[in-house]
């Protein structure tokens, strides 16, 4: 039985985020399916054992229990620094820049991207409802402004954190994946550096394995 367990759900971008890191690090692990449609994540056992906020993913490594996908990926990157892909910098100052762009993903990008993904992907898929046009029209320009800043940044360095692929790039993969199947794709395609960066990171073998692994759970 693997010491590492990822508790998660299909279609969960947060679960995908952790799986992406697990596969980049080539870690033996067990995936434990959390049945959100049955409300498993809100039941007493899950709340008291895995995540008191009733969200996926949750993570175990031996006795260690963690939640919050970006805390889990940071742990994986540090604890398994010697395995697989380097996902953080050991040098404090280089890591500081990566840390800035990790915050940008979480604070500036994710909220807008998640709103668009909800309207354009999840609502049709899960609820059979169509997107709220007003919300889409409000958030597309906001995402465009964020991507303009990414375009400038990626004109200066190959990846968001610097010369190497790190968690700052990896954290974007899940919502990018979902938005690429929607009208929002044009915002990425029309920015050459952003477009090249996306083509690069979405072609990574570990990412493709993570996607396949989660899709096989559906």
């Amino acid at each position: 039985m693997a010491a590492i367990k990822v508790h998660g759900s299909p279609l969960s971008t947060n679960t995908l985020r952790v799986l992406a890191a697990v596969y980049e690090k080539e870690l033996d692990h067990e995936f434990v399916l959390v049945d959100k449609s049955a409300g498993e994540h809100k039941k007493e056992h899950f709340l008291s054992t895995h995540n008191p906020f009733g969200q996926v993913p949750a993570f175990e490594d031996g006795d260690l229990k963690l939640f919050e996908s970006r805390a889990i990926t940071r742990y994986i990157a540090c604890e398994y620094a010697d395995k697989g892909t380097q996902l953080i910098y050991q040098d404090s100052k280089k890591m500081a820049i990566t840390s800035v762009w990790m915050e940008v993903e979480g604070q500036q990008y994710e909220q807008i991207a998640a709103k668009l993904a909800w309207e354009l992907v999840y609502k049709p898929l899960l609820l059979g409802m169509s997107a709220d046009k007003a919300i889409v029209e409000e958030n597309e320009p906001k995402l465009a402004k964020v991507l303009d800043i990414y375009e400038s940044r990626l004109a200066q360095s190959k990846y968001l954190g610097g010369d190497c692929f790190t968690l700052a790039d990896l954290h974007h993969l899940p919502t990018l994946h979902y938005l690429f199947g929607t009208q929002v794709k044009k915002l990425f395609d029309s920015r050459p550096h952003v477009s090249a960066w996306i083509a690069d990171i979405t072609a990574r073998p570990a990412w493709l394995k993570a996607l396949a692994a989660l899709q096989s759970q559906q």
Partner: protein, 217 residues
């Protein structure tokens, strides 16, 4: 070595977060106020430091950083002082602290920020609060504080048995909310109340408060 600089706004919780980290590590620095009302954060020169126009910005040893939690993490790891570190160097213990840093970010801050806007900001501007928004935010905050109450039965601080950035990162919103009726939600939970009193009474935090209060005058 060039002097450390913090560009910020003392009314901003993010600026106060960075200040807390700087004072905890006893770093000399120069504070450069940025006037948000005058649109100073939208000028070319500021945007060249902080492309999203965000305060605070921190400069240190050739680095320019924005996003307060990134600044906090950098200072915590760069200025390790044995015996007073705000971080665990063992990855497993640091992983636990990192979880609670993200809990503050994703669970605590959203309702706390809404309450700050309604009960602190609007009051300053002489505007009435939106009672529905306040009630909704309070209900969310209660759920979060119930989780904290349970967590703090297992450890003295959120990140473990010592004060870390997982606790420090809460100080800005605690500071604002303790001056409002929301204070009661913290006081009526014994573990949360003890934890709040403990971290708010740290000497370095008092220096931040002094700096913020002086600016209000």
């Amino acid at each position: 070595m060039a002097i450390r600089k913090l560009y910020g706004t003392l009314g901003s919780p993010d600026t106060i977060r960075a200040l807390a980290s700087i004072f905890e590590h006893e770093l000399d620095f120069e504070f450069i106020p940025i006037d948000l009302n005058a649109g100073e954060h939208k000028t070319e020169s500021f945007l060249s430091l902080s492309p999203f126009g965000l305060v605070p910005v921190y400069q240190d040893d050739g680095l320019t950083l924005f996003e307060s939690r990134a600044i906090m993490r950098f200072i915590t790891h760069y200025y390790l002082k044995p015996g007073t570190e705000l971080v665990y160097e063992v990855p497993k213990l640091q992983g636990i602290a990192a979880t609670w840093i993200d809990v503050e970010d994703h669970q605590f801050s959203p309702p706390a920020e809404k309450l700050r806007q309604e009960l602190v900001d609007k009051a300053k501007k002489g505007l009435p609060m939106d009672k529905e928004v306040v009630a909704e935010a309070e209900a969310k905050l209660i759920k979060v504080l119930d989780v904290y109450e349970e967590r703090l039965t297992h450890s003295k601080y959120l990140g473990g048995d010592r004060f870390t950035s997982a606790d420090l990162t809460h100080l800005p919103y605690l500071y604002h909310l303790m001056g409002t009726p929301v204070k009661q939600l913290f006081e009526e939970r014994p573990n949360v109340s003890t934890w709040c009193k403990d971290i708010l009474s740290r000497p370095c935090w008092s220096r931040v408060v002094e700096m913020v209060e002086k600016d209000k005058v």
